[in-house]
Symmetry: C2
Subunit: 592 residues, 2 copies
């Protein structure tokens, strides 16, 4: 396995030369004194040191060792505890947390780069601070001042970690049918009873306390998703002076044995009249949880990116070093009995597919991150609203498309190594296994697609697509010489997306199964079109830059590769979209 | 995990109603007294009992336990030894072996069904008899009578197993650079010295002896692939009376820790002047090995099919039982708080994609199996030659396309279970891991694609495509009412395949990188077109059959699904094929 090296040059290119985020920051009152280009670069350099030197070295051994469980206690792999301590001390757990409570308050477009680094270093490890960041945001947005004062400083400092407790044995995607109960106690708190499964970081040995955010039902709760409330349930109760008090009866019943992310403790959590406090309004817990989940979903998309980045590093090193077979005459090394794998077209196809998805994904997560920041910080209300709409549209795409392309990339990265890619010691198969969960958790990719096509597109009669289409139209106005082919492809792809959307909107009233039948192909179509838009932007930005730097000419070549080899996949998606729902609903259950 | 149930009805449909193999057998002198429809059905029923009852129950525990290595000895998982003993006693190791040496001599089209069952039951376990069958064939075709008499009866009876020792640490795909040496000894034997890696079943505890087929270089060998010879090297030397003699100095140095197929012993084998005997002519070993590999490659393709079959069984059972969310009004169960997953279009999309690849793959392996039988047994020389050409064309497609679609299928089968699909106890993630190796070994799928486009298509100036195109044209002549749409799609797809092939043939003389750049997309194009041909044949055969049986109406529906939702993917492949090699060769190595 190759050592991890963060893609700092590309991150800076995306941030400043493609998206010009420093100009955004100058116009944002909350950020203008805090963030500029130099500060951002310095933060990324420090983050890279943490990811490369502190986190990445543990990943392979942690996969072999995994977490262990005994007597309701979970032990994390060797090195995790010390790495987490150093991460917390450096302030890297609270990077996105509110500065009022000790966080760094970094803009999302910047923290997205840091998250990529952590995921590339070790997805399992990244989940502990990742879930904590989600818990911080939820409490910050929905918790009372009292709850914030108790929990946020400790969470932001990395002294305690956070979890999200949603899933139950019979209720995963469908949270409306959860059974965990919250009974009011005399002191204004609640007693929670029930079982939650698949709880990431539900129990571990990294910190003294764990703060669970738990969905449960109050006694008077209406049925379904409108009867779910959110509670904060700490592992140890907190005394008035801030010290840890008695043990709350919430504990891990077991850990799951999984395909991958072996270093992440995935726990069954039993709540036995555990003491909790309501976060936000009664029965409005799902909405509160979703505020965070939309933020987290970008983070899960970034896991797909991180896995691909790490796989690419090893695949490229291997392909350069490994000599096997002969290339075309012009590429042959006559002094050796075989040529580097880099002479073979199919090896290049796999590596360039990875590279195009990685750099396209980095641009995509940064694009969504920039819109998240604008929706929160922009001075102009119209800009905030446009950004908010883009975020709503693109969040499910980020989660699903970045993880689907991430899995494809890690499979290519394994294939480049041949049999060595299948052997554990090389590490390439780990990124496949670790990436695979990102397509499943935080709402499966099928659910993301339903959210995109059902809620976001059909639910707004296509209105939410408009800011994306406007961004595409704007770039097409500014295409210079030499990009006619790619601009024509993007224009055509955008027109097809609009045509397909129009036909779905036309038919959806008479076909209740249309959305659930076409959602995944539709999401992939939006993904490929969005990446095409970003690749054209990147190609133009690179061409406008200093051409003596190899980085820029390579970027132009990869842009052209994307349009030549990957964008054509939308033709297959469109073919499937055009045949509607009928081919999926002809079969009776006994026909399967 | 659901119990494995072999798809006997579908196998019989494919064999008799689609391919009418019994008529073939009647016209084949070698088979006419031995095989008929009833005999074939009886064999498949017995095979199903073996796969379902003897082999499948070990798979999950074998994955957890894996093989273990100590002191040059390998221990297989609990249950393997007894299962192998019973398999051998039932005559199931020698199903394809020459009856002159105690084999069953089954036609390939029938043994392909048995292989599917074994792979669906447990891919790891299937490799021990699978490699043995390959060794039997190689010795039968290329060995001297003396070698055959010594080895074939014991191998066919399952008393000993066989291996193929090709790969070395520095030489995988590129066998021309192997270093294992064979020095002639005074008694006509040879002493082999070298290290082989990734040797499946190189050492184990299932049988008393192991027969290695080893590629090595004679002292006077020319460089490259024309200087490789084939040797048989037994673990224990065989005395004149057939009893086992002294231990040959060939031993396992370690076993690999792998992503999957944990029950299969993948060994590093050290040859320390081990005694061996030449098989076939000096320096012609690679050709001899390839005779077998072409046969084996269909077997590896069938591993992809078997993994998909097993994954589908559990995914379907889960989807029917699991209740989550609500379907369209017409499909809703008002007596429950949630509906079966089967009401959701995306779940159906995943299951039907699996089903279409599985049943299409079963038809494809049977089609290739039928051609293998015809090439060997047909009385008519023209039929033998046509069949031989189809086999040459389709073998790399069978290996690569059936495993690529197998991986996609197992990923869908995992996704259907959501988080439960990621947890090991459900078993769904195992089929993903087990299937993944089939894309890599026996020549990576990239190498299969090079073989198809380079050697088979460009190497014959497209001649080898003609029997396939003729079969497609023949079915298009016989399409009845109601299939106009699908027939039109197949006609168009066949025309596009010919156009793309013509353009490659036109350009290949000036572009040495064209083949290695386009091979994988080309192979997928041939795969999707071949499956479309088979789905149309199956659809027509099903429509012609007893329509009161639900099996046939389901088959028609799945055929239509394939044309509506999967065949359109070729449009994306064609788009990538049309852009040639340039987008892959613009990047300098430092641009990656």
């Amino acid at each position: 396995m190759s050592d991890y090296k963060a893609s700092l040059q590309d991150m800076n290119f995306v941030l400043h030369e493609v998206f010009d985020v420093a100009t955004d920051w100058q116009n944002m009152p909350a950020l203008q004194d805090m963030m500029d280009k130099d500060t951002a670069s310095a933060i990324l350099e420090e983050a890279a040191k943490v990811a490369e030197g502190l986190v990445a070295p543990n990943a392979r051994a942690a996969d072999e060792q995994g977490v262990s469980y005994a007597d309701k206690k979970v032990t994390t792999p060797d090195g995790y505890k010390e790495a987490y301590r150093q991460l917390a001390e450096g302030g890297w757990v609270g990077v996105t947390a509110n500065p009022d409570f000790g966080g760094m308050g970094l803009p999302k477009v910047l923290s997205a780069q840091y998250e990529e680094m952590l995921c590339a270093a070790d997805i399992s490890f990244s989940l502990y601070p990742g879930l904590t960041a989600g818990a911080i945001m939820t409490l910050d947005l929905h918790g009372s001042d009292e709850l914030k004062d108790i929990y946020l400083p400790r969470l932001a400092a990395g002294e305690w970690t956070g979890t999200m407790c949603l899933t139950e044995p019979h209720a995963g995607t469908d949270l409306g049918i959860i059974r965990t109960k919250a009974e009011p106690a005399a002191d204004g708190s609640f007693e929670l009873t029930g079982t939650k499964i698949f709880i990431t970081g539900g129990e571990h040995d990294l910190t003294d306390n764990i703060v669970h955010l738990v969905l449960a039902k109050l006694p008077d709760a209406p049925a379904g998703t409108r009867g779910i409330s959110l509670f904060v349930v700490p592992k140890f109760l907190v005394n008035e002076d801030g010290s840890l008090g008695e043990r709350n009866p919430v504990s891990a019943g077991s850990v799951e044995h999984k395909m991958g992310i072996h270093g992440s403790a995935t726990c069954v959590m039993n709540f036995d009249a555990a003491k909790g406090w309501l976060v936000g309004e009664p029965h409005r817990g799902l909405a509160a949880m979703f505020t965070m989940m939309n933020y987290e979903r970008l983070g899960v998309g970034i896991q797909g990116l991180g896995a691909a980045v790490r796989s690419y590093g090893t695949a490229l090193d291997y392909a350069i070093d490994r000599r096997q077979g002969r290339g075309a005459k012009a590429t042959r090394d006559e002094n050796a009995s075989a040529d580097s794998l880099m002479v073979h077209g199919d090896i290049r196809r796999m590596l360039l597919t990875m590279k195009a998805f990685i750099e396209g994904g980095r641009a995509f997560s940064s694009y969504v991150g920039q819109q998240l920041d604008r929706s929160k910080y922009a001075a102009d209300e119209n800009q905030r609203e446009d950004a908010e709409r883009l975020v709503m549209l693109l969040t499910p795409v980020a989660k699903a498309f970045m993880t689907d392309t991430g899995l494809e990339a890690t499979i290519h990265g394994q294939q480049v190594l041949g049999g060595h890619g299948y052997v554990r010691e090389w590490g390439q198969e780990q990124w496949v296994r670790d990436c695979r969960i990102a397509q499943i958790y935080e709402g499966t990719n099928g659910i993301q697609a339903l959210d995109l096509l059902g809620r976001k597109v059909v639910g707004t009669r296509g209105e939410l697509l408009k800011p994306l289409l406007a961004d595409i139209a704007a770039i097409l106005e500014n295409v210079g010489a030499g990009w006619e082919l790619e601009a024509g492809q993007l224009k055509q792809a955008s027109a097809e997306l609009q045509r397909v959307t129009g036909e779905i909107l036309h038919k959806v009233g008479e076909d209740e199964n249309l959305v659930n039948s076409l959602a995944v192909e539709y999401l992939h179509l939006v993904g490929y079109v969005s990446y095409a838009y970003l690749w054209l932007r990147m190609g133009l930005a690179a061409q406008a830059a200093d051409s003596s730097d190899n980085f820029y000419s390579a970027k132009v070549k990869t842009a052209r590769f994307y349009f030549a080899k990957l964008l054509p996949r939308i033709d297959g998606l469109i073919g499937a979209l055009d045949t509607g729902s009928a081919p999926l609903f002809e079969h009776n259950v006994e026909d399967f």
